[in-house]
């Protein structure tokens, strides 16, 4: 069934249609929050809360954007609220990617090291900038869409993404970041 049809049913109170929609977009929301928080437990909590807010507010969804974009918008606002309330980012460097290097121990060690340095580099970018960067790099949203999701001007989105890339490059090159 098409997303539009499922949305119509979900808005008229069909729980099963809404469940299908949420399950279809689960990996988008979970993946986005995981890259943002870098903590699996925190990601699970935020994903569940995002789904809860989507269920409660499904009738308010006007269909001006894709359903996944709406979910990402809810997740972004939720993340911002939680970070503001708790005053920290929960950026524990724990496992994000399941490494499957087989029997090649050397390769596994190298991959793990590379992964850790990438995680550290991503974590070094301030939250608001990282949100814009993740949305652009991994989800290929346009600057305009990101501006809509994060409620900020397009110019700000552009500068946040540029800053993130330069910071990432700087940290990965082992240089001193220019904050």
């Amino acid at each position: 069934m098409l997303e539009a049809e499922l949305l119509g049913l979900a808005k008229s109170g069909d729980k099963s249609a809404l469940k299908n929609l949420l399950e279809a977009n689960y990996n988008v929301v979970y993946g986005y929050l995981l890259k943002l928080t870098m903590n699996e437990d925190f990601t699970r909590d935020l994903t569940q809360e995002t789904m809860t807010r989507a269920i409660v507010n499904i009738k308010k969804f006007k269909g001006e954007s894709k359903f996944s974009t709406w979910l990402i918008s809810i997740a972004s606002n939720l993340f911002k609220d939680v970070v503001k309330k708790k005053g920290q980012n929960h950026e524990d460097i724990d496992e994000i990617v399941n490494l499957d290097a087989g029997k090649d121990v050397e390769k596994a060690v190298l991959t793990r090291e590379r992964l850790m340095s990438l995680k550290k580099a991503l974590a070094s970018i301030p939250t608001e900038m990282r949100q814009a960067f993740i949305l652009k790099h991994y989800y290929n949203y346009s600057y305009e869409e990101i501006a809509g999701i994060l409620h900020c001007p397009i110019g700000t989105v552009r500068s946040r993404i540029h800053y993130s890339i330069k910071k990432l490059k700087s940290v990965l090159d082992g240089g001193i970041s220019n904050e």
Partner: protein
């Protein structure tokens, strides 16, 4: 690195993400500037490195299910609060009416009313059961 190159870097990032097109001016600059060529190569390398986080995520249906349960619980809690408020306001209203009637000197009639309710209330059970049967479609 000249300031000029820093400006080109920003444009190259936009080109990399498909936000703007590669103009002839940029092409010419890239041909003559090794720094910017290197920057573009590094951008592509960075993209390859960051692909490590782009893994398949198995769907956890229990999490979606928990979200629905959480919403149901919140709605039930809300309904219970509304029911409690209706009950309390009705009780206060009845108490207020009784108090006013007693104050105005209608205590005797209140007593008669109370006795009537006491004896007639069991008959309301018939209507209640009938209504319940209708609701259950029996």
């Amino acid at each position: 690195m000249s300031k000029c190159c820093e400006e080109y870097e920003d444009i190259l990032i936009d080109i990399y993400y498909g936000e703007t097109e590669m103009s002839t001016e940029i092409k010419n600059h890239l041909e003559n500037c090794s720094n910017c060529r290197e920057f573009l190569n590094e951008m592509e390398g960075l993209g390859d490195q960051l692909a490590i986080f782009d893994t398949d995520i198995p769907i956890d249906c229990s999490l979606v299910e928990s979200a629905f349960t959480s919403v149901d619980q919140k709605e039930e809690k809300k309904r219970n609060i509304i029911d409690l408020l209706i009950f309390m306001s009705t009780a206060i209203g009845i108490f207020f009416v009784i108090f006013v009637l007693a104050y105005k000197g209608y205590g005797k009639y209140l007593l008669y009313g109370q006795i009537s309710v006491f004896f007639l209330a069991p008959f309301s059970l018939i209507a209640f059961l009938k209504g319940r049967r209708l609701k259950e479609g029996m």
